[in-house]
């Protein structure tokens, strides 16, 4: 006997029979709203003033200037390579940095969220 059958059999019992997914009548695919969609629908409604929402307790943006750390080592980085836009802490790091292939430099930038041209 297939072990799968053993496992799935008790499943059939406790669920409401008509909603059992194994009955092939309901195969309608449903698109679930993402959290973003849920929040935006929620925001659009005319809530009373005192209501606190999921979206209203977001952390505030940082008021402190972001410190600059080397992308490679994580050390405080006073320098930025103008070519790759990567930050580095000392000349040894720069030596490794210029030898890095493009996908790695792009990966570092993307990780820091600095890959967009605008930002």
């Amino acid at each position: 006997m297939n072990p799968e059958d053993v496992r799935s059999e008790p499943k059939l019992v406790f669920k409401t029979a008509s909603l059992n997914p194994n009955s092939k009548t309901i195969v309608k695919k449903r698109a679930w709203k993402s959290l973003k969609q849920i929040i935006s629908t929620e925001k659009a409604l005319p809530w009373p003033d005192n209501v606190v929402h999921y979206s209203s307790i977001n952390a505030p943006p940082s008021f402190k200037p972001a410190e600059k750390f080397s992308d490679l080592s994580g050390l405080p980085a006073p320098y930025t390579d103008p070519q790759t836009r990567l930050r580095f802490a000392n000349k040894e790091e720069y030596a490794t940095l210029i030898a890095l292939p493009m996908d790695i430099t792009a990966g570092y930038l993307a990780l820091r969220g600095a890959s967009s041209i605008v930002g």
Binding site: R7, S8, P10, K11, V13, F14, K15, T16, A17, L19, P21, K28, K29, R30, A31, W32, K33, S34, L35, K36, Q37, I38, I39, T41, E42, L45, P46, W47, P48, V51, V52, H53, Y54, S56, I57, N58, A59, P60, P61, S62, F63, K64, A66, E67, F69, L72, G74, L75, P76, A99, P101, M102, D103, I104, G107, Y108, L111, R112, G113, A114
Partner: protein
């Protein structure tokens, strides 16, 4: 230095727990702490959660090729929770019902409930005759809760549900003596919450959620290690990053100071963690075949020599025969034999005059002599040749002092490095040229399009010699390729360095060494993300700053009350150093000499479940249960509020949230 290894713990499939009559007949509540990282489920009577599994399902895609065949109709096997033995194998098929800390994907949630209930052993027909105590996110949107109620009431026919917030359950019911005022800091998988409680009541409007959590720390660690070791990118998996986070990561008390310490090589050596990646020893390929290759080469050379020798001997015999005949003709000439016959013989050897004959005899003699010498030479050399072959080309140069040699070597190394880096940049340029979206590639396209543009009348291209250089610039090699001379020079330098410093170029002393991850600053760098979300490009304030911000929303008196009792919980609260760090950060933002207390709850990860369990066992549950009747009566979004629950704000009428988007 001890070298750590990955344990790569596999999930153990859960057993189906027995559904005892005591459970069956008393409608014992089921307690489910439904977290975005893990689901913990168990009976209100069980001493600890019976089921602990990651809230994940792996749904294999249907194979395209089998789409038309009959077998394809049967649904592919679905793996749920701890059935997923090797998470990395199905990483791309994983699905969770969570979007951040809110349940949004209820099809997945249904599978996970199936898993939970079946593994609790429930086998009653068409219903789950047990009330459910379920945790949800702080300020869970109504639509999410509505769908959850719908699922539980309609699909599982549960008699009642009680919703609560995990950190509040943990605080109110898992603490020995919960104080009236507290600032709960819940550091969990997708989010961190800072929740102020005054006089036993949660102040929702001043609570804050930081959308950075363990998940982000793990992916950050995963990525920085992958980028640090691109060669091992595939063997650095998310589960391994998670293992590292749980195993060796720490929160720095003062991040800047910690970084400064790591710049000292001695400290680095002492505190670096080396982690061995699994690797297969392939010494057979390097050491043995090198020997074999040499052997094969020698064999080939020997055969070549033999062939040559045979050829020489054959030629010798041939030549000697010819010589004999020529000599015979000469004899005939000398003996004044019949002229006709001599001419006949001469014609046979294409000899026109007698002088020619003499000349040929001479050359043949010389040739034979030469061949004989060669044979002799080759016979001799065969015995002696092998040993001197091995001697290195470059004999050791003798230096008058250690220093001179050192300088010489440094120079050689520098030259070697220069050539290497030149080669490297060339390769890089070539790569960039090949890609479309690089600066180099675009510059190349620009030049090409400019060349192709026809300008009538004033096309003077090619008048100057420099014009032609442009083709060098746009060729894929970038003008100059690795020159032969450079390669030779490189080989020579390698040879020199090897003769004088044998160990320098021959690495591979321990093949496992190249498969080691050195995790140093990263141990502190990854958890630091909680305090510096901008390291991952988020604009949000860090944890300490958010706490400070929440303080600022209260008057001074309440601030004091909150600061006196900062309670930290959630999975990441297990990180060593977190308590000290929060304390030091808070002291720095609180007024001078004001009281600040930070403590971590006794069981940060499971506190929510234990709290919810206590709640489920209390008499309060009965009064605060959302029953099926209420659900039918008050609408799907209604629920009962209690001390550990979210507030209930009915969705404004007339504009029902459209939850069905199909």
């Amino acid at each position: 230095m001890e070298i750590l290894e990955f344990k790569d713990l596999k999930c153990i499939p859960d057993i189906v727990h027995s559904y005892t009559p005591a459970l069956r007949n008393n409608s014992v509540p089921i307690v489910i702490d439904n977290g975005s990282y893990q689901c913990r489920a168990g009976w209100a009577t069980s001493p600890e959660p019976l089921l602990l599994f990651k809230n994940l399902i792996a749904k294999p895609r249907k194979e395209r090729s089998k789409k038309d065949t009959v077998e394809a109709i049967q649904t592919p096997q679905l793996q749920v929770g701890n059935d997923i033995v090797n998470i990395e194998a199905v990483r791309f098929q994983l699905k969770t019902q969570f979007d951040r800390d809110v349940v949004t994907h209820f099809e997945a949630q249904e599978h996970l409930f199936d898993y939970t209930f079946s593994h609790l052993g429930i086998d009653t027909d068409n219903s789950i005759p047990h009330p459910i105590v379920l945790t949800e996110a702080l300020l869970n949107p109504n639509s999410s809760r509505q769908l959850m109620s719908e699922l539980l009431f309609e699909c599982y026919s549960v008699p009642g549900i009680s919703y609560g917030i995990d950190c509040l359950f943990s605080y109110h019911f898992n603490e020995v003596k919960p104080q009236k005022n507290a600032l709960i800091v819940n550091v969990s998988y997708h989010t961190c919450h800072v929740v102020p409680i005054l006089e036993g009541k949660i102040v929702f409007e001043n609570a804050r959620r930081l959308n950075t959590g363990g998940f982000h720390v793990i992916s950050f660690l995963h990525r920085i290690l992958q980028l640090k070791y691109p060669a091992h990118a595939t063997s650095i998996t998310l589960s391994r990053a998670e293992e590292l986070l749980h195993g060796i990561c720490e929160v720095a008390l003062d991040y800047r100071e910690e970084l400064a310490r790591w710049t000292d090589p001695g400290y680095y050596e002492e505190h670096i963690k080396k982690i061995q990646l699994p690797y297969s020893v392939s010494l057979a390929s390097s050491a043995l075949t090198l020997e074999q290759q040499k052997e094969r080469k020698r064999e080939l050379a020997r055969r070549l020599i033999e062939i040559n020798a045979r050829k020489r001997e054959e030629r010798l015999v041939e030549d000697e025969e010819k010589l004999n005949q020529l000599l015979y003709i000469q004899e005939m000439v000398e003996a004044d034999v019949d002229k006709d016959e001599i001419e006949k013989a001469c014609a046979e050897y294409q000899i026109k005059h007698l002088q020619d004959l003499q000349k040929q005899i001479n050359t043949l003699n010389a040739k034979i002599e030469k061949t004989k010498q060669k044979i002799l030479a080759s016979n001799n050399s065969e015995e002696v040749e092998e040993p001197p072959n091995k001697q290195p080309k470059h004999n050791k140069i003798v230096f008058e002092s250690e220093k001179a040699m050192h300088i010489f070597l440094q120079n050689a190394k520098k030259m070697r490095q220069e050539i290497l880096s030149k080669k490297m940049t060339r390769k890089q340029r070539k790569q960039d040229m090949a890609k479309r979206r690089t600066a180099a590639g675009q510059e190349r396209m620009r030049i090409i399009s400019q060349l192709a543009r026809k300008e009538k009348g004033n096309d003077d291209f090619g008048l100057r010699d420099e014009d032609w250089d442009i083709y060098k610039a746009i060729s894929k090699d970038g003008g100059d390729s690795d020159s032969e001379a450079e390669n030779e020079k490189l080989l020579e330098l390698d040879e020199i360095i090897r003769t004088h410093e044998p160990s320098d170029l021959d690495e591979t002393t321990n093949p496992g060494e190249t498969h080691q991850l050195h995790v140093g600053i990263e141990r502190y760098r990854a958890p630091e993300l909680l305090f510096k979300p901008y390291m991952l490009g988020s604009a949000e304030a860090g944890l300490s700053e958010v706490i400070g911000y929440v303080f600022s929303l209260f008057n001074t008196e309440d601030q004091l009350k909150l600061a006196e009792n900062v309670v930290v919980m959630g999975g990441l609260a297990n990180l060593p150093g977190l308590q000290q760090r929060l304390l030091s950060d808070l002291i720095s933002i609180r007024p001078f000499q004001s009281v600040v207390n930070v403590r971590i709850v006794s069981n940060p990860s499971l506190g929510g479940w234990f709290g919810a369990k206590k709640w489920a066992r209390s008499s309060e549950l009965k009064e605060n249960l959302l029953t099926r009747e209420m659900y039918d009566e008050c609408g799907p979004e209604y629920f009962k509020i209690h001390v550990a629950s979210n507030p209930f704000y009915p969705t404004p009428k007339g504009q029902e949230i459209d939850i069905d988007v199909s």
